[in-house]
Symmetry: C2
Subunit: 620 residues, 2 copies
């Protein structure tokens, strides 16, 4: 089995470090990678609003467009805010960097923790929503939503382990296809009547009659729907994190991409909300209807039915375009989670293995970590997008608020020309997202968001523990104040079970590395000791042979005891224990020999000043 | 977590080798250990006869006692035959020793393979029959028969890992209790009518009417029933295997125990068969009736119903006494399987780990091996005693035949006084058991015995492969013809990731063990190389520093390459690779460091003339 050939087939050939520069992306390829998260939010944002307001009855449906408009206003505040960030941080700001540099390290860690959880939720929500689109068409696949979601996650993981540029090429076409399909659908739904094409009114399926649950429309209800609809804004910050992936001029290209993305996103989101409200689409999610969780038809699917009069081909095209862009949205997190982890690792807040570029120039360990966390979340929540959405916005809006606050401090410190205007823009952004964050925590906390509120401080605590460990290590390892000591006395003990050719290399090695060498035999079967002594006379040369009784027939105990005893012979006495080891020809032959070397190594591993060495003897 | 304390609690304190002698048993304790297998056969022997003859219809029931009588005659032939073995082999004969010494090594290995499979089946059949007794009383436990059987197997395993003497004390009382209970039951059933107590006739439960399947009674049918009933004889050989466990005079005590055992066994077996035939008990096993496999009531349970007029207390006592002795029967195999394995291991036919006495003076590895095989068998056969019985007698009768044939050769060679008489006795034994073996293979082969017929040669083949390996090793390891060579040139390479206190012990160690030392650094991040060189100027002393580029950021590949290059510098060039390793304070801190030492060891493990050594640095 040639592992490196298998590896190359799956992950591609290794890439040289010099090839890193070439992985930067033109705008046309950067847009699908960085905008897919934001654009794909249209797949579940309107649905999340409906899921919340319709519990009061169908008369609340007319709130859909107003709530959506409020969200779009907030969205543009944030987009404009972020264009300033992109210009201020051409090396790739990202919330962590901006918060850390302007607000201080602890706010930076809060931002990092928030945004890492957000990335995990991005993958979880996008993938489960993508699966919902698929099962809306192939209704008989509904029972397998968890399996489908896991398969999608691990497919993405493999694709990302292969590297970023190929991802760009692979994912560009479906993103543009989605934009064209959804803009067309919205245009037909909204403007069709002007040219005489009339979409049909929505008819709930025969089994799915909603109970006439007429409640008064409360402020809380509207805020909850608004908070859930804010899922539409997730992903906007991705561009700011990844400025460095753009071709130069990085900032300009990134800012243009950001604005273009905001425009497309607003259009599709508002268009869908308009169609939903105008044609009376009802979404109750996993809680209502007849089929429960697995059989909830997605809002996108119902929009397609309404606009194209139940035509299955149009519906299939729309649903698959949506499903694919949702998978690509998850891919945004695959670009950014490992990138942020590597920055945190370089700063000492995460294990330093995360800072390594793999042999395909991607942060392989971070990619795998993301896949594992997401898989756990998907399984825990039964791959239900309606149950995952309440968790989603906490991390994002924490990051928005910190990032914009940081920018306010940035301009205040810099006082560059026109700084007042810049402070105002980012200040409005910070205030607006901060207020929305509070609304989200209060209104969605009881519906699952509490989990994120608990997890973020735990992650922050882990950051500080890791940092403390590395600092301790650094302090221990410094050579400042180090004075070389005298070379200590050295004794080599060769453990022998008998006198035969297998121990000769070990004895030779011992003679090679020290003057004081001793052969040590643990006597398990006393009847064989005399034979051993006779053979030693003949072959042992000048090396002393130490025989140790083992009344309980244990090998390890007496070895440990003798090593400790030998150590006590001198101050700073260095002991090397040489264990001869057979190398057998076939794997099954291993089972026919005591494999004592490993056990001895384990037992002596806690004794300082002892080195354990295996000297191997090949049997073939 | 103090593993040795847990270990002591479960397995008991270690015992000294000198304590081995004390583990020998007086007859009163030896009987339960060695006779329980044979005695417990009464639980399933009559049942096995019924299971076979009743397929032809209830008119065959009158064949039960005649077939049982034939089996008892065979049983006494074998018992008398074995008393001769016990005297001829006071050191503990056993079939393997007798066959090997008198018939040659290959017949010995056949005997060993046969008897090892027999031990596994003894445990499987006894435990599943024991479970059947329990589920005959607690019928609602029937669906859990496999789980109950596995629990019993692993309980026994633990008890045996603790050691033989405690087993003796633990198991004596239930064995004698079983003998008393069953002899009483048989006495009441057989002689009750003489004093005016009349057991009731058997009535099948309402649901369980047997179809009137009247076939003619064929010779094949009778032979099949006879072959199955021979399961009654399993376990007789146990005493001969374990003569050494008796107090001296070993042979005399063993022979007396053997005869006493034969007498009790014959009485109970014939008594049960008489009651079955006289009161019309019907057993169809898992194949017939309404409930299938799990709900077959055992013959012992029906005998208890008949004799004591359905009294539940009497039935409970009889069933539990039977169940417990069946568990003890399995225990016979726990004494003998590891013992035989250790002999075979000492002869080089099984892995030598099996020859070791554990710290409780039992052959721990053999005990665990038996438990594993048995568990597999029980799961494969769904813990059904009726499906396991056809496999059972092949191994036993192969062993009987070989053992008695061996004894014939033994007397022919020895020609001790009265040898003609002894040859006749063992000759009759060999001939009778040989014929029965053929009957068993022909009649039971198609019903599962083929599996044993296939497995035994496979085991023999494994014996020879293991032996061949050890002989090859011995030939390689001999010092005859060995001439010491010149001590080869030695170079030490210390792999360093940086210059800090953690690598100092490794550099010191390298200087200690060789004159030609080099520090080797794999350059993963070229920007840090200059800093490393500067630090090396200051702290590296006279040791040369080798810097190796790694364009693909891999650590292992360049190390392997450089080691091979260094080896080529001299003929027989010995290379030691020293890998500095951190020892962290808490286990979770391990995840924060590259643990490269293990990977490097693995990669260099295939290169001859290379020794890999970790030198540890404690961070606390």
């Amino acid at each position: 089995m040639n592992w490196s050939a298998v590896r190359r087939l799956i992950f591609g050939s290794p890439l040289m470090t010099e090839q890193l520069e070439h992985q930067r992306l033109p705008k046309i390829l950067a847009l699908p990678i960085f905008a897919s998260d934001a654009l794909s939010s249209t797949a579940y944002a309107t649905q999340a609003i409906l899921f919340n307001i319709l519990v009061a009855g169908t008369h609340t449906l007319h709130l859909t467009v107003p709530i959506s408009l409020a969200i779009v206003v907030l969205l543009w505040i944030v987009v404009i805010s972020y264009t300033q960030t992109v210009h201020a941080y051409p090396q790739g700001g990202g919330t962590y960097i901006v918060s850390r540099e302007n607000l201080g390290i602890n706010w930076g860690l809060l931002a990092a923790a928030a945004i890492l959880t957000d990335y995990v939720l991005t993958v979880a929500v996008s993938i489960t929503s993508g699966v919902q689109q698929i099962t809306s068409f192939f209704t008989n696949l509904a029972p397998y939503q968890t399996e489908l979601a896991l398969a999608a996650i691990w497919f993405l993981t493999l694709a990302n382990l292969r590297g970023a540029r190929e991802s760009g090429l692979l994912f560009a076409i479906p993103t543009y296809f989605f934009v064209i399909v959804l803009l067309t659908t919205v245009a037909v739904g909204v403007f069709g009547p002007l040219v005489g094409y009339h979409p049909k009114q929505y008819q709930p399926p025969p089994g799915e009659q909603i109970a006439p649950m007429i409640h008064a429309v409360s402020l809380g209800l509207i805020l909850r729907a608004f908070a859930s609809g804010c899922a539409a804004m997730t992903g906007i910050e991705a561009v700011a994190d990844g400025v460095q992936a753009f071709r130069s001029p990085e900032s300009r290209n990134a800012a243009q991409t950001l604005v273009l993305m905001g425009a497309i996103l607003s259009t599709i989101f508002l268009g869908i909300s308009y169609i939903v409200q105008h044609y009376g689409i009802i979404y109750l999610g996993h809680g209502g209807g007849h089929g429960g969780d697995a059989h909830a038809e997605s809002v996108i699917s119902m929009v397609a039915r309404v606009v194209f009069h139940d035509n299955p081909i149009f519906r299939a095209v729309i649903l698959f375009a949506t499903a694919i862009i949702l998978v690509l949205a998850a891919n945004t997190a695959y670009a950014d989670f490992p990138r942020l982890s590597s920055i945190l690792a370089r700063h000492g807040y995460m294990p330093r293995q995360l800072s390594n570029l793999g042999d395909r120039l991607v942060f392989s360990n971070g990619i795998i970590l993301l896949a594992v966390f997401t898989s756990i979340l998907v399984v825990l929540f039964g791959a239900s997008v309606d149950r995952l959405i309440p968790l989603y916005a906490v991390g994002v809006f924490t990051a928005f608020t910190l990032s914009q606050s940081g920018m306010v401090r940035f301009w205040l410190k810099q006082k560059a020309p026109g700084w007042q205007w810049k402070v105002l823009i980012n200040g409005v952004g910070a205030a607006a997202t901060g207020v929305v964050l509070l609304v989200i925590i209060i209104e969605k906390g009881p519906h699952g968001a509490w989990l994120v509120v608990v997890v973020i401080p735990i992650i922050m605590w882990m950051f500080t523990q890791v940092k403390r460990h590395y600092e301790k290590v650094r302090a221990r390892l410094t050579l400042i104040g180090y004075h070389p000591e005298q070379i200590p006395p050295h004794t080599v003990l060769v453990l022998i079970s008998g006198v035969h050719r297998g121990v000769i290399p070990a004895l030779e090695y011992a003679r090679e590395i020290a003057k004081d060498c001793r052969a040590v035999h643990i006597e398990i079967n006393p009847t064989e000791t005399q034979r051993l002594k006779d053979l030693w006379e003949q072959w042992g040369g000048d090396l002393p042979l130490v025989i140790i009784e083992s009344p309980y027939r244990s090998l390890i105990g007496p070895v440990v005891e003798y090593v400790k005893q030998a150590q006590a012979e001198h101050v700073r006495h260095l002991i090397t224990v040489v264990v001869p080891e057979f190398v057998v020809t076939h794997w099954w032959e291993r089972a026919l020999h005591y494999n004592a070397a490993f056990m001895i190594k384990l037992a002596l591993g806690n004794i300082r000043g002892v080195v354990v060495t295996n000297v191997r003897y090949w049997l073939d």
